[in-house]
Subunit: 356 residues, 2 copies
């Protein structure tokens, strides 16, 4: 993958997520991305470091080139519409922070501080308070400062009672500890950490196949007793699990499985001469995702390109380190391996390769 492609991934993924079935215009997104690509390439700053998969940007600390700042901006996306409809505002702040924490964890960065952006057509103080409480709670869980924020009331921009919540995380990393995709070799194991639901991607699709009228219906899942509970299950942070595994195993690269699923996110931190081969029988799929696959009649390709399908974060380790890694984190499983890739081969294969 070229440097420009890597720079773009962060911007590209959320556009792909809300895919054609849900009526989102992917071509428009790609055109915007192409323009951003040209801009980013023409204006690269001398202290910007090569991105590793584009999950977070890296900027060498002036005067101290052994360390770099890592930063990432994200929004909660249309999961907000589920929260607004069900009037449950306590979890989306944590969705946002945890998503950002995981993004810069891919480059091995430790969070320093977070800033949130909350905008609404009409600001409800109870709602705003609950949203910011959730942000603050998730920041505190990571020893990360909530350094600032902006709250804007913008009638005319937002639909009545709607709001948007986005944020930016800044972390720090030793440059020598930034993962190097060149170290990944055929025979390495892929360790997966479990997803609890959709996390923050696939909601345009989910809302299409599971309309709001059904969100209060009973639905048994780990996340609760209704479809709404399952839809609002909090995007987990993988920070503690990853640090526990890194303490005993040499983690070569990582990926955060967001919009684009395993098929698009895993290759972002792999060299071009290898492929990731997953064996789906090695992990379980959350009931909500199984239900969306069923209702949407998603093909094999669609399900693994749109949903996380039960894997929220992946780590590549040598075969010798795989058992040590999963012993350090009870929820972790070996979910696949790295194989050599010939020109024209796919970058990711998920067995069994069912057809829709």
């Amino acid at each position: 993958m070229s440097k420009e492609d890597e720079v773009l991934r962060e911007r590209e993924a959320p556009l792909r997520d809300a895919y054609a079935l849900a009526g989102v215009n992917i071509d428009a997104g790609n055109a915007a991305v192409a323009r951003y690509r040209a801009l980013a390439a023409s204006r690269r700053h001398p202290l910007q470091l090569d991105q590793i998969g584009g999950f977070g940007g890296l900027f060498a600390l002036p005067g101290d080139p052994s360390r770099a700042l890592a930063a990432s901006t994200d929004g909660v996306g249309t999961k907000l519409l589920v929260a607004a409809k069900l009037r449950r505002y306590d979890s989306v702040g944590a969705d946002l922070v945890n998503h950002c924490v995981n993004d810069i964890l891919v480059v091995n960065a430790t969070p320093l501080f977070f800033l949130d952006y909350l905008a609404a057509g009409k600001l409800d103080p109870e709602v705003a308070g609950a949203l910011v409480d959730g942000v603050g709670r998730a920041c505190a869980a990571h020893g990360c400062a909530l350094l600032g924020g902006e709250t804007a009331e913008m009638p005319g921009v937002y639909q009545e009672e709607h709001f948007d919540l986005a944020g930016t995380i800044v972390g720090l990393v030793e440059v020598k500890s930034v993962p190097d995709p060149a170290r990944v070799k055929p025979g390495d194991a892929i360790v997966g950490l479990p997803a609890v639901g959709l996390h923050t991607n696939g909601y345009s699709l989910a809302r299409k196949v599971l309309p709001a009228e059904r969100w209060r219906e009973p639905f048994a899942s780990d996340a609760g007793a209704t479809y709404g509970d399952a839809l609002l299950a909090e995007h987990p942070s993988y920070y503690t699990a990853v640090r526990a595994m890194q303490a005993v195993a040499d983690v070569k690269v990582m990926s955060h499985i967001t919009g684009g699923g395993l098929l698009e996110n895993v290759p972002r931190t792999l060299p071009d001469n290898v492929k990731a081969v997953f064996e789906a029988s090695r992990w379980s799929v959350p009931p909500l995702l199984e239900e969306i696959v069923r209702l949407g009649e998603l093909s094999h390709e669609e399900r693994y390109r749109t949903l996380n399908m039960g894997i929220g974060f992946t780590l590549v380790v040598s075969t010798g380190d795989a058992l040590k890694a999963i012993a350090a984190e009870p929820s972790a499983k070996v979910v696949g391996w790295i194989e050599a890739r010939a020109d024209g081969d796919p970058h990711v294969v998920v067995h069994p390769a069912r057809t829709a």
Copy 2:
């Protein structure tokens, strides 16, 4: 001003801006702020430094306490509705970046990098490209990297053809060069840098008194030949002007005049025992602001609390340094002075104190 008050100012100002005349609910905003206040106070991170006026947050660099990171998140606000209506997307990116640059300039920080957040109901690639081009251009003008960004298409959250643009800046500052309000003394001079229009505040009010039907009407101003030109005049960056003045003068504190005007922004970096006294005859008011004052029949209090009234940035220097400072920057003027303040006195006085 208490530490908690200072922490809050960043969040508070944009709520006050869109004030009652424009139908925005200030009470709701204040309730949200109160909740944020409690949260921020209860969860202060040990590396967070005291904020100076709350324009940007400060975070000590781990392992190097002589330096701090400064960060600020802002949105363009309802100026976007003017840009969208007139289909002119080239300037709002610079509005956003320059606003953020000025905010962290108040704590004397030099920009390192910027991340943007662009969300729309339906993404138009031409519009998105023009918006991000503007962001990139203003970043490049400051030697600031555009390190990343997020583009989200969220049908159902944003009104048709509407979008929001926000961003986060991160800069670096030597802790010993962070301005100290305690150094401000009665007799010091206030140097002002000129505003070119509304900048990014007061647009809810402006749209109320100057409806969209009139934006293509002729209106003579420095910013162009129509009301639309004047409304979209770019929020200037004061970075170069401030650095030029700092090279020859000891600048004690600074303020960025945003929502809240001179009345609310200048006291943010003053000690409680002084007041700022402005003499309005010393500078000129942009024609657009005069027009909004006239159409909105704004009282003296309202105009200086809602609009910048022609001053975009202020610097406090000793009387001896004032002439050196303005000699270094042709656009700068001495616009007022610092006086002793007794309990109960206002923090800011603008002479002549006309009544509406």
